[in-house]
Symmetry: C2
């Protein structure tokens, strides 16, 4: 791209809901996604919830012709679920795993096992350096009493910090993913305010798709209708965000979403709608400078609000750590008591064992089990406390810097 010519970039983003053995009609849907991507010739495809490397390999084999470059981000027990297909060579990659991501004992939610992360790929098109980020934040299971809000806020903060620190040499920054936050939520405001990223939906010159740009809609046969009851139109939690850093401008010419069904089919690609953006990137006569995300007093307000929520999470985590520590000590005491009783019986000094042998052994095993479990959870919540404290402190430092050096 020389002079004032414009580069057009077509981006596809989708949470694929491809959980092996659990997601309905997974293989059929992954096949449909692959077929459509082959037909549509996007420039960049950002996918989430491709949990199985088998699905990724299948897509990779099918898409090799149209998207010769791809990357799968590995992390956690199951994987990060994140992958990218690109028409342009991927020059470098980096993965940042969020420090908090739910609880291992919340098996029914399972986020902890996924190693939720943000993946970065660097590509260069016509001499323009693109930092492309793909991510998936912790799900929201109950909006009224959202126990995971502090974790999701830590993730949004780490995402913003990771983007800020790694994108300084980029010309254009793109972020696509399932952020599991509504557009007005504090986490989105924090992310956008602190990075300066703009929302393709609000910026688009032309929009075609679900009302309000929703990406989780009652009209999709795979969504859980009860969860969407308070939101008759659905919710918007999947985003394409962007900004130009150096002497470039980015405009979103067109944004589209699927509308509850794969085009011409009776089933959707996923329980989420796909988001498709057409961006126009143009070189400016002079450096545009780093775009400011938000007026500074507003940014101070958002960081303060986020910090308060992290503080709430911190106190809850401290309480949990304390409870688990106390439980571990009680189990240890019980074990010691049993050891003393057993020793008394063995040496013939005591009054004899008050329980039959079987009950005594079962009790000892129970105590050992509780001791191990409570100690493990105590350690887990200790890490949680540390990371929440660390985030709170980083936010405090940012507030200080914002106020001292506006």
């Amino acid at each position: 791209m020389e002079g004032n010519s414009t580069l057009q970039l077509r981006i596809f983003d989708l949470n694929c809901w491809a959980i092996r053995y659990l997601s309905k009609r997974r293989q059929e849907r992954v096949r449909l996604i692959g077929d459509m991507l082959c037909r549509e010739h996007f420039d960049l495809v950002l996918l989430q919830e491709v949990w199985s490397e088998w699905d990724y390999s299948g897509l990779n084999a099918k898409l090799g012709g149209c998207y010769p470059f791809s990357h799968y981000f590995r992390s956690g027990v199951i994987g990060s679920g994140l992958c990218v297909f690109s028409r342009f060579p991927i020059l470098d990659t980096l993965l940042y795993q969020y420090s908090l991501n739910g609880y291992p004992y919340m098996l029914q939610h399972g986020d902890w096992f996924c190693g939720k992360s943000v993946g970065l790929i660097i590509i260069k098109i016509s001499g323009i350096v693109f930092n492309v980020y793909v991510t998936h934040l912790h799900a929201e299971y109950c909006r009224e009493k959202d126990a995971y809000l502090p974790h999701r806020l830590v993730q949004a903060w780490e995402l913003a910090q990771f983007i800020r620190h790694t994108s300084k040499a980029a010309d254009v920054v793109l972020l696509g993913g399932d952020l599991n936050m509504h557009p007005e939520d504090v986490g989105i405001r924090l992310l956008r305010g602190w990075t300066g990223l703009r929302d393709a939906f609000t910026e688009a010159a032309c929009f075609e798709g679900c009302e309000d740009g929703c990406t989780l809609i009652p009209n999709n046969c795979f969504t859980i209708k009860a969860e969407l009851m308070p939101f008759p139109l659905g919710i918007r939690i999947d985003y394409i965000l962007y900004k130009a850093i150096s002497s470039f401008t980015v405009r979103c010419e067109e944004l589209k979403t699927t509308m509850g069904r794969a085009p011409g089919m009776d089933i959707p690609f996923s329980d989420h709608e796909a988001v498709m953006a057409t961006l126009h990137i143009q070189r400016q006569g002079q450096a545009a400078g780093v775009p400011v995300g938000m007026a500074e007093p507003m940014l101070v307000d958002v960081v303060t609000e986020a910090r308060m929520e992290v503080g709430v999470g911190l106190r809850a985590a401290q309480q949990q750590r304390y409870s688990m520590g106390r439980l571990a000590i009680l189990a240890l005491l019980l074990l010691l008591l049993q050891a003393v009783a057993a020793l008394g019986t063995l040496t013939g000094l005591g009054v004899g064992q008050p329980f039959p042998k079987l009950t005594f052994s079962l009790l000892a095993f129970l105590a050992i089990g509780v001791l191990l479990l409570a100690t493990g959870l105590h350690l887990f919540h200790t890490i949680e406390v540390k990371m929440l404290q660390g985030t709170e402190e980083q936010m405090r430092m940012v507030l200080r810097v914002l106020q001292e050096h506006p």
Copy 2:
């Protein structure tokens, strides 16, 4: 700093060996370190193994006058042990926790619990942006049969990638820390080659300290003499590395180490020697460009060598994952067998239980214990396999890019 004037920067780096309840004469040594730092007025102090926040708070209170800015990096159960004291305002921070860091069941080594990380602080002195990194990699417990080499290599790779991706807007990059690698080790060559960082010891115009710049020496009363037997002079594993990125040059005017004793005292500051560098930073007439770390064919060789070592670790991890999976299945089978026997006895259909009740219950508890433990370890090694595969793939991509676009 205007025109051709030179900025002088004095940096102090030390692994403080301050493990609560375990490190000898800890409080006395931390006090000594604090006193010396107050006297010496360095510009930047990079500390590792300050495991206790209590020690950090003590240092912070003492050093507040000479080093008004500081940061403690929190991570893992115990903490990262990393902290920084600075004469100049810290504008921003970021922590990257290494994806692999030993094994939770190697309690005697304990690295896993520390959440080993690299911390980044950003400071600005006379308009020059400094990205300052502090880190501590996994320890080496047996050089002949180093089971942790693949993990340390993954850490060295992640460290190099983190520095490369986050330092693009910096004028000067500094890294201090205990890298737990000898100067000629593949991990150090990889780190230096891939980032272009230069070693203050080899570059110093003037050196004063232990022979060969060693930082773990037999002459220090806290080092384990048997471990240093093959190295009569000691080993060099603590480093200060640096590079200038934009239109600046950095020279190391002087490098010093302590020599087994705190100046004027009968005990050393730590079991490691401190490293002290005096750097001169000068603005160039024109942009110096990004320094190349290593001639490209050499870099290809180093990345290939590192990738082979990661491959060795990968195969070991796969073997471990398989063994643990098999053990878990055996325990599950035993439990099922017991359940069938118990059911047979209860319904009166079976031939009766072959064991007395107590032995039967103990066996069931044992099987449950083995099942839980083996499943946990299987999941752990699954994560290990994923991260080793991810690193190997990143290295393969870098090799491809290096060979295609030299």
